[in-house]
């Protein structure tokens, strides 16, 4: 299903661009990476059939770029694939990016699959809505599927204004029966429903984004109208499966950052109108960095963010979220050495029921082309009414070694 998107417009457009006379000149850049990954789970899963202990994966990413001599035309292809040793649903391929772009003095037009990021906060990406999450990669909403779009953007003295027209919808990915980090019941993408119960999304989604800075303030405003990227998961009793329902929504968002000396003050807020309710959600906080904590010049950052979400807690009315009323506390240590060694640790606690999830991450470069990463996710004190309850035995450590070419 997801693969059908790969074959259509962007590739055709790319081939057209490449077959034009201009393509004989220009500059090519080809790179990529191969990674091996091993997740180790500490406990047996809550569901029978879920994989035990080890989950190895192989990751492949390519990156092909062409730019015309006058720098006005770009073609970019970024294919990605994961081969998972245990979970068939986690084995998947995607075009993260595949687009043609024209850049003029004031205007930029891009057509194809692209990845867009909006926002400023660290613990939750609330205003960021263009791309669907590739949830089988990780549960942090930072891995995204390429979104088919036509993007028109202009940069002026008063800021950047960008319009997005998105003709195709991407369904969220979910772990399979063997997989970990999933709900007690499986999500079946073949049961997907859109607004008014249709099984295909024929609507074209639309978004508008304004971004600029005023002195120490960075400001972003966004508008989105289309199918929600988060599905409601509706239980299908006869099949014993969860069906994803993507409602038509209208969402406005604002993201702000105030940067003063070593302080970063951050805020993101949205108001979302769905067929069932209109609600607001926000995340905001502060990041402070102690610079030069060692003689070698390491930096230590401290982060605190509050998360609020006013959506209904009824799964029939709204996609459920962990971040309804939570506090995030985190720290970041960057050694600023030649190997770019860094450490990141954080914990999110639900203010109401005390459910906790923790994260520790570290990465460094080895030689010129290798990067090693270690990542641990921990679920603690999970309340039976909290979404994290489903992950209560999914605490794990992940090791990844990536070779860049």
């Amino acid at each position: 299903m997801t693969n059908s998107v790969l074959s259509k417009t962007p590739i055709v457009a790319a081939l057209l661009a490449l077959s034009s006379p201009a393509a004989t000149a220009g500059e090519w850049d080809v790179s990529g990476s191969v990674g091996t990954e091993l997740r180790t789970f500490f406990e047996k899963g809550t569901q029978p059939g879920q994989l035990d202990t080890f989950q190895p994966s192989l990751l492949l990413e390519g990156d092909v770029r062409w730019q015309s001599d006058n720098r006005q035309w770009d073609v970019v292809l970024v294919p990605y694939a994961r081969l998972d040793g245990k979970d068939g649903q986690r084995t998947h391929a995607d075009m993260r990016e595949a687009y043609v772009r024209w850049t003029g003095d004031e205007w930029t037009v891009r057509a194809g699959l692209a990845k867009i990021f909006w926002g400023v906060t660290e613990s939750r990406h609330l205003v960021d809505i263009i791309n669907q999450s590739d949830s089988v990669e990780d549960i942090d909403d930072e891995d995204k599927l390429g979104q088919p779009m036509v993007e028109v953007s202009t940069i002026r003295d008063w800021g950047q204004l960008t319009a997005y027209v998105m003709p195709r919808f991407r369904k969220r990915t979910f772990a399979g029966a063997d997989g970990r980090l999933r709900a007690p019941f499986l999500v079946e993408n073949d049961l997907t429903r859109f607004d008014e119960g249709r099984d295909d999304d024929e609507d074209v989604d639309f978004a508008l984004r304004y971004s600029h800075y005023f002195g120490d303030w960075d400001v972003g405003l966004s508008f989105f109208r289309g199918a929600d990227r988060e599905p409601r998961l509706v239980f299908d009793g006869t099949r014993g499966l969860l069906a994803p329902y993507y409602d038509d929504i209208t969402q406005v968002g604002v993201d702000l950052q105030y940067t003063k000396e070593a302080w970063l003050w951050k805020f993101e807020g949205i108001v979302r109108d769905t067929p069932f309710q209109t609600f607001a959600a926000a995340v905001g906080g502060v990041e402070y960095t102690f610079y030069g904590v060692t003689d070698a010049g390491a930096d230590l950052g401290v982060l605190v963010e509050f998360q609020y979400d006013g959506r209904s807690s009824d799964p029939l009315l709204a996609p459920q979220t962990i971040a309804d009323n939570d506090i995030f506390i985190g720290t970041r240590l960057a050694l600023n050495d030649a190997e770019d060694t860094d450490f990141l640790g954080g914990i999110v606690v639900d203010v109401e029921d005390g459910s906790m999830s923790g994260l520790v991450e570290s990465s460094r470069r080895f030689g010129a082309n290798w990067v090693g990463e270690i990542e641990g996710r921990f679920f603690m004190n999970t309340d039976a009414d909290n979404l994290l309850y489903g992950f209560r035995r999914d605490s794990h450590v992940m090791l990844r070694l990536t070779r860049y070419f």
Binding site: S31, S33, D74, R101, T103, D105, E106, T108, K115, I116, F117, G119, V120, E142, S153, I155, G159, Q160, S211, Y213, D218, Q257, T259, E261, A262, W263, L264, T289, Y291, G292, A296, G297, D299, N336, D337, A338, E339, D340, R365, G367, A368, N369, V371, T402, Y404, F405
Partner: protein, 271 residues
């Protein structure tokens, strides 16, 4: 050899200043400051009107054991001729591959904090970052952020120390004191040649006033319009034994860059 010479000269100069303090110091200090400023200004203004430049560079980091690692990058710079406004610059990394496309956009100010944005291509994320971290290492090198961003004339107070010889050239020796906050240096001693007025060497003294680093600028070449650029910069850290060299390719000037090429929105187009 030279260093000892300079230290002797410094000692002599200090002795003169100290001895003569009660009689003539105020006038002398002013004169030394004026002359120091003039030399720095003549050097700074020698490339006035370069408008914009683009250049690639290879940075080689050498640790105390002699192991090296390299990173390739390119710089785009937009000149602000008004000396009360800083230049705008964009630094983009091409290697190591894992950070390819990572970019730093900087709008330099004179005494206020610079505006800086970092682009992280893996997430497609533009992050406004604090520029308080002036003295921190730039991508693990022996260059600090301020060594790149604090080249504006009016970021320093100056003092003329004397004349000397360096590498076969007659040079003016100028001491400079950062006026901006959060500098890692209490002072710097710069050698400026008397022929084409370019900075040839800078000694950096840390906050404890110990010699921290020495920057040597080599392979100066003249471009159209009398603009000079060094093509080999070597920074040696005397306290750690580490060093970093920065080798530049050929500069392109007046490449048509405008203010619009130095706004945060362009970062997302890099990769």
């Amino acid at each position: 050899m030279f260093k000892r010479n300079l230290q002797n000269k410094l000692a002599a100069a200090l002795a003169v200043v100290t001895l003569g303090f009660s009689l003539i110091a105020p006038v002398k200090a002013d004169e030394a400051a004026d002359k120091g400023y003039e030399i720095a200004a003549r050097s700074d203004r020698s490339d006035l009107g370069f408008t914009s430049s683009e250049v690639t560079a290879v940075m080689t980091l050498t640790n105390s054991a002699g192991n090296t690692s390299t990173r390739e990058m390119y710089f785009k710079t937009l000149e602000k001729e008004n000396e009360e406004v800083g230049d705008k610059s964009l630094t983009v990394f091409e290697t190591p591959r894992d950070v390819q496309g990572t970019a730093l956009l900087s709008h330099a100010k004179i005494l206020e904090a610079d505006d800086q944005w970092l682009y992280l291509p893996a997430l497609k994320r533009v992050k406004r970052i604090s520029s308080t971290n002036k003295s921190g290492p730039f991508v693990g090198s022996e260059f600090a952020f301020e060594d790149f961003t604090s080249t504006e004339l009016n970021k320093y107070d100056y003092k003329f120390i004397g004349e000397d010889e360096f590498d076969g050239m007659k040079v003016d020796v100028v001491e400079r004191f950062p006026r901006y906050e959060n500098s890692g240096y209490v002072r710097q001693i710069a050698l400026v040649d008397q022929e084409v007025f370019q900075v040839r060497k800078i000694d950096f003294y840390d906050r404890k006033n110990s010699l921290l680093k020495t920057l040597t600028l080599k392979d100066y070449r003249e471009y159209e319009g009398g603009v000079w650029r060094a093509h080999e910069l070597e920074m040696v850290n005397h306290q750690t034994g580490k060093s970093t060299t920065l080798s530049y390719g050929d500069y392109s000037f007046k490449t048509g860059l405008q203010d619009n090429d130095f706004v945060k929105g362009v970062l997302k187009r890099i990769r």
